[in-house]
Amino acid sequence: MTNGKPHIEFRDVCAFYGSKQVLRNVSFSVPRHSVIGVIGPANSGKTTLLKTINRTLDFIAGARFTGQVLVNGESVAGLRNPNELRRRIGMVFPLPVGLPLTVYENVAYAPRRRGITAKTELDEIVERCLRQAVLWDEVKDRLELLGTRLSGGQQQRLTLARALSLSPEILCLDEFSIAIDPVTTMRIEDVLRELRKSMTIVLVTNLVQQARRLADDTLFLWRGEVVELSPTDVVFSDKPKDKRTYDYVNGIFG
């Protein structure tokens, strides 16, 4: 699998909403099967960063980006079928969204759209993904319940299960643990450590300690600019490359 190329690469990416620039000349690369933590205060372009990777920026009126975003060395901007790209990238956004379908159908949604209809195969996918999202034990007896009827934290894990349903090669998590209790979060983090063997994980988080626990490299994004991209232990050490990183990580920003 590893062909030397970085799995995800940003080259000089600028993103705009109308005339407002949210990403400024962002360049970095993520090696295959690694975990990159993205930290930074609100409004620094973290979510936009993810939306450029799977090109869901297309769906936002007035949004565009320049520069190159490469996945497997292939520019996403030139793709004929961005839906195929989106299927290879699992996305979890901070707001828990259970689709108004049953729990089972929530997870089976993407596989079905892809043409998988065999019941046994779907059953298998649903169970695997719900287990990976640490939700199986809570919902295994009520898979026919509406996804929207679950609690916020359960819906968040349902979103994660959905994102895993196509066995993506990249998993992007945007504040995935915001509605989930600390104990369950720890269990999901264990799963993520397991998953990184088979996928590259982009972990956007406001909890800097979560980045510290999981990420190999940590990227500090501030006002749309990459302040620093260093191995996580450097970012969280006393001497990161940039003074602002130290201030942010230690909560003395301002």
């Binding site: 009126a61 996305m91 969204v97 689709l99 108004p100 949604y109 349903s165």
Partner: protein, 331 residues
């Protein structure tokens, strides 16, 4: 604590220093709030009075003729006797015909405007057009129907289907042209209500599907439409009552004063062909109430009662459907 206990009853006994007593200002405020509530209620009551008065008056005066025979029998002697079957059937097929045109076009237009179109000048122009179309008086729609469907579309159809030497094979203004006219009149209403229904589906659902690689159409088919179906349906049912009640659009586009309809057999259930003038409830009521001399009053009120009952029935069905579907809301 010991010091506080004896003083408490003393305060309560003395009204002036009761800490919970309302000040004069607050009492005035409460009185005013109460008064305003009753004034607004009175206006609501005023709203109900005309409806109740109309209903009671019409149904009292229509009571002698109301029966199943009155609905099932054909009008006799220009409506002076007999029942209402011919106009009832006409209205029924008119409604069905207009729905065949208005429902698919309206829903597709709403889907395009709400799901595909980007904010921009084109979208704004279409929205303004839809709103303006909704404000056009129905008689103008009727005249448009004459111009577009009766004078332009029908000759074109006749060139294909009719025998040039036999006038009787030609299509005339009838169910087809009237249905199209009604459809044009109701189109903006259907588009607007369908857009509202589609817009009520949270954007987050769409984004979740797009992130899974679902196409826009897959998202619409699997998530958006199933969850806005109830709202779309309610909007369509509400235009049914408009289609049944309007006279002006069908006045020149196919409805006729009087037409003989078979009294039995299949011809009674399907009395009109689409290229043939037909009777309709609204038109019939208009004609018998002031165009025919010596019309018994009871027949006029009978027709009015049936038309009102029909429309109230359709509307309450729509409301009941909406309530029922709201209970089944899935988020």
């Amino acid at each position: 604590m010991n010091a506080a206990a004896p003083t408490a009853p003393a305060i309560a006994a003395d009204g002036e220093s009761n800490p919970f007593a309302a000040s004069q200002f607050e009492q005035r405020k409460v009185r005013r709030a109460n008064r305003n509530k009753w004034i607004t209620f009175a206006f609501c009551a005023v709203l109900v009075i005309p409806l109740v008065a109309i209903l009671v008056d019409i149904f009292m005066k229509a009571a002698p003729v109301l029966s199943l025979h009155y609905l099932w029998d054909n009008p006799v002697n220009k409506g002076k006797a007999g029942g209402l079957w011919a106009p009832l059937a006409g209205t029924f097929y008119l409604v069905i015909g207009s729905l065949i045109f208005v429902a698919p076009i309206g829903i597709c237009a709403a889907i395009y405007l709400n799901e595909y179109a980007r904010e921009g000048w084109l979208n704004r122009i279409i929205s303004i057009t839809v709103t303006s179309l909704a404000g056009v008086p129905s008689i103008v729609h009727g005249l448009f129907g004459v111009g577009a469907f009766v004078l332009v579309m029908l000759p074109a159809i006749n060139r294909v289907v009719a025998d040039p030497n036999d006038r009787s094979t030609r299509w005339e203004a009838g169910l087809l042209t009237a249905s199209l006219t009604i459809a044009v009149m109701n189109l903006p209403v259907v588009i607007t209500s369908a857009r509202e229904a589609l817009g009520a589906v949270p954007q987050a659902f769409r984004e979740a599907c797009w992130n899974l690689g679902a196409t826009r159409w897959q998202t619409i088919r699997t998530i958006v439409l199933p969850n806005s179906f109830s709202g779309i349906l309610t909007g369509i049912i509400l235009v049914v009552s408009r289609a049944a009640g309007e006279t002006a659009p069908i006045l020149f586009t196919g409805a006729t004063y009087f037409k003989f309809v078979a009294d039995s057999g299949w011809e009674k259930l399907f009395p009109y062909s689409i290229g043939e003038a037909f009777m309709a409830m609204s038109m019939h009521l208009y004609i018998i109430s002031n165009q025919i001399s010596q019309m018994p009053d009871v027949m006029k009120f009978g027709a009015a009662a049936v038309l009102i009952a029909l429309i109230l029935f359709i509307n309450s069905f729509a409301i009941a459907l909406r309530v029922w579907l709201r209970g089944r809301k899935r988020w």
